[in-house]
Amino acid sequence: MSTQVHANLTEAQVEQISDDLGEPEWLLETRKDALAALEELEMPDVIRTPGRTWTNLDALDYESLVDPLDYAQDKDRIDADGVEVLSWSEALDEHADLVEEHFGSVVDPQRDYLTALSTALFSAGTVVYVPEGVDAEDVKIRTTMNSQSLFNYTLVLAEESSSVTILERQGTGETTDADQYYSGIVEVVAEENAYVQYGALQNLSEETYNFQVKRGHADTYATVNWIDGNIGSRLTKSNVETRLLGDSSESQILGAFFGHEDQHFDIASRVWHEAEHTTADLVTRGVLDDDARSVYEGVQDVGREAWDTSSYQRENTLMLSDDSEADASPKLIINNHDTEASHSATVGQVDAEDMFYMTSRGVDPESAKNMLVEGFYVPVLEEVQVDELREDLDQLIYERLRE
């Protein structure tokens, strides 16, 4: 545990962050508890097979990466009719009870070392409050990191029969040569019959180490859909998760990543079916070039009481270079037999026949390959309901292919 950061963290720092945000006592206590728990907590689980750890989070030098009191950032929040899109201080002023009720109810603040670190040190973030019955259009949140380390916390509360789509973009402003650390927690509470689509587009600088937990709870008839687009960062460990807690709830987790140079993406999509007639669809597509590496873990967990479950998972990776590595582990855990579940995963290159077909039509090989890679993402892109997110993601893929 010697590489971990808590040695240079103090309660005074946590108190100061809390004071800056004008927080109530209970939140300061939650932060202090998380800080104290760092002593005991382990790094987040990563896949290990005999003799091999697929992502080594322990190797990071958190002590030099994390500067608790430097949290310079730009934040844009664009709300939509009927939805309150609030900074933490605003949210704590206006909806103290709601925040206290739901904070940490979806993501355990002491889930693991890095989550607890985020809980103790988060300096900014957003609370999206969708009151009962509101149908909202696009909410947009843009976070630009201008500091060495940044801890972001987003809480989405969608009350009964409400709906909202949220687009969150994460980027880096002033780039320095020094390594940076970004950590983001997203909690989504979808009450009965609510609908939430949360799209994230991560394009942090390639000196940034990035840790994210995005997790939703879906009540009866509720839907929590995720889009997790990963383009930037040096190393990303991203967990996107839904617990289907109410009958007939649904979740879709779409993932897209594009790694080049020595980027490393460790992406997990997980869903727990815990009620009857629940449906999940997990789709991830990734492309790897140069020395890039991806680790994918997909978990479909069907609980004992989850009668009449439908659960599907597909993961496809394209490898454009011989030095890249694609590791995958799609897991099915089935405790109820009244289940229709399947998963599939493939790894391969751009299809030689497709290339031949395109080049025989006069397209030069480079353009042909680029078109095929763009086409590869289509099944994910076409599911994205937020136009801006789809277009941005498409654009970033386009640019990367032509770098």
């Binding site: 694609a326 995958a328 582990s329 855990i333 289940t339 998963h343 599939s344 391969g348």
Partner: protein
């Protein structure tokens, strides 16, 4: 063939597997594992010094290694206390290395294997058979025409004496070193019995060679070692069958299997495992496959309380191929954690894994597999297919594949499905006049057909009978 089938059909499978024999042995080691026990085993077998040294080194490794219990969803091994088992029992038989005439076997042992149907199978379809009772091979036979071609089929203890150079080179050095896992180390320390198969160049053994392992005593461990070497352009099919009656104490089976498939050789290794439901089956099996060689693993895992077994193949030479076909059936109280591992270490290597599992009455099946494609293994391809069938809501079925792909010019596909037995299928068969049980039986038989069609008829019939037995009267 048909009379043989009839025989197996008429035989009451339950009686065939569940009977017990009065324990009667010539030598029984003390419970637990000490250097002393190992020296006794080694001395009793009159082993050369180097083998004793390997055993003692493996014992050291065993003591240092952790239990394989830190894995997600791994079976509970807390009951496995090696200090509580009897690691070595030499049955009461005069001839070391087994008799070569069936009628020379002591009556009780003869009777045991008769009930299992071994002699009939040998007469009809096998080129050789070895039978292991407790820790020792008690019967060994090889048809003369194979012997004349230089094919060797003998028990491992005899191989240590008579083929020392080959053993020194291959025994737990290249395929399954004791350092592989805790139970491989345990095996290296106290292994006993098992088979040695050697097939010379350009030789095709066109009838299966069989070994049958029977654990009869309470609270014992069986640790047989199998070493198969198929030289260039040779071909052999090896079958092992295993069984043990049920006792109150737990039994431990921790075998080691090493297969060497040389250039352009072809080895099929088939297992029908039906250990009693208090046996922990913690086996290590690995093949090393040279250029253009083919390794095939076919296995049916029926018995045991808990099984952890992932037959693995290292595709070492270009053009090597590995196929796995496995079926696991877990009933009440059983945890069958099994799968396949393939290492593609050379270009143009191919592998296919087809895994089927059935769980019912609270049983748990898990497919745990690893496909590793090394950097430089260009134009390799692998396809993994897992299907799970579940009968009820107390049962569990998990799929945990791991894929490590370090080479881009590859074709990797993994697919898995889980489902309950189709109501429509059952309805269709019922509407044709079958009752519920028979309909389900038929659906299961169809589900496992890809496995049974790879096995010689006796084994296919046996596997089907075992599954019938597991399902009898418990469908509803």
């Amino acid at each position: 063939m048909s009379s043989d089938q009839d025989h197996l059909k008429e035989t009451d499978t339950e009686k065939r597997f569940e009977f017990k024999k009065e324990e009667k042995s010539a030598f029984e080691a003390e419970k637990g594992l000490t250097e002393e026990t190992i020296r006794v085993i080694s001395e009793d077998k009159d082993e050369p010094e180097w083998m004793l040294e390997r055993r003692l080194r493996a014992l050291e490794q065993y003591k240092e290694m952790p239990m394989p219990d830190g894995w997600p969803g791994a079976p509970d091994l807390s009951e496995v206390d090696v200090d509580e088992i009897v690691p070595y029992i030499r049955p009461d038989i005069e001839t070391r290395g087994g008799v070569d005439d069936w009628n020379d076997l002591p009556e009780e042992i003869q009777d045991t294997f008769d009930k299992l149907g071994i002699p009939e199978a040998e007469k009809n379809a096998l080129s050789g058979v070895g039978a292991q009772y407790e820790s020792e091979i008690v019967y060994q036979n090889m048809q003369e025409r194979w012997e004349e071609k230089g094919v060797i089929f003998c028990d491992m203890d005899k191989a240590v004496q008579e083929h020392e150079d080959i053993l020194k080179e291959y025994f737990m050095t290249k395929a399954v070193p004791p350092s592989d896992n805790k139970f491989a180390a345990l095996h290296g320390a106290i292994w006993s019995g098992g088979s040695f198969v050697y097939v010379p160049e350009d030789t095709t053994v066109d009838m299966p060679v069989q070994a049958y392992f029977r654990m009869n005593s309470d609270g014992m461990g069986q640790f047989e070692h199998t070493l198969i070497i198929a030289e260039e352009n040779s071909e052999v099919h090896y079958i092992e069958g295993c069984s043990a009656p049920k006792y109150s104490e737990f039994n431990l089976h921790s075998g080691g299997v090493e297969v060497f498939v040389k250039e352009n050789a072809h080895v099929q290794y088939s297992t029908v495992q039906n250990w009693s439901k208090n046996t922990y089956n913690l086996n290590t099996k690995r093949a090393i496959c040279e250029a253009d060689g083919t390794m095939e693993w076919v296995s049916g895992s029926m018995g045991s309380k808990a099984t952890m077994l992932y037959p693995s193949t290292v595709l070492k030479g270009p053009g090597a191929t590995d196929n796995h076909i496995t079926i696991a059936f877990a009933g009440e109280g059983q945890d069958i954690d099994t799968g396949a591992k393939v290492y593609h270490n050379a270009p143009e290597t191919k592998s296919t894994i087809e895994s089927k599992s059935i769980s019912k009455d609270g049983g748990r099946t898990n497919y745990r597999g690893l496909v590793h494609i090394a950097d430089g293994a260009e134009d390799s391809s692998t396809s993994v297919e897992c299907d799970a069938l579940m009968f009820d809501n107390e049962s569990t079925s998990d799929t945990m594949p791991y894929m490590e792909i370090q080479e881009s010019k590859v074709d990797v596909a993994h697919e898995a499905t889980v489902g309950k037995i189709g109501d429509e299928d059952v309805f269709y068969l019922q509407s044709r006049g079958l009752d519920d049980d028979d309909a389900k039986q038929m659906i299961v038989a169809g589900f496992i057909e890809p496995i049974t069609e790879e096995l010689p008829i006796e084994y296919a019939v046996e596997l089907n009978r075992l599954i019938e037995l597991e399902m009898e009267g418990s469908l509803g």
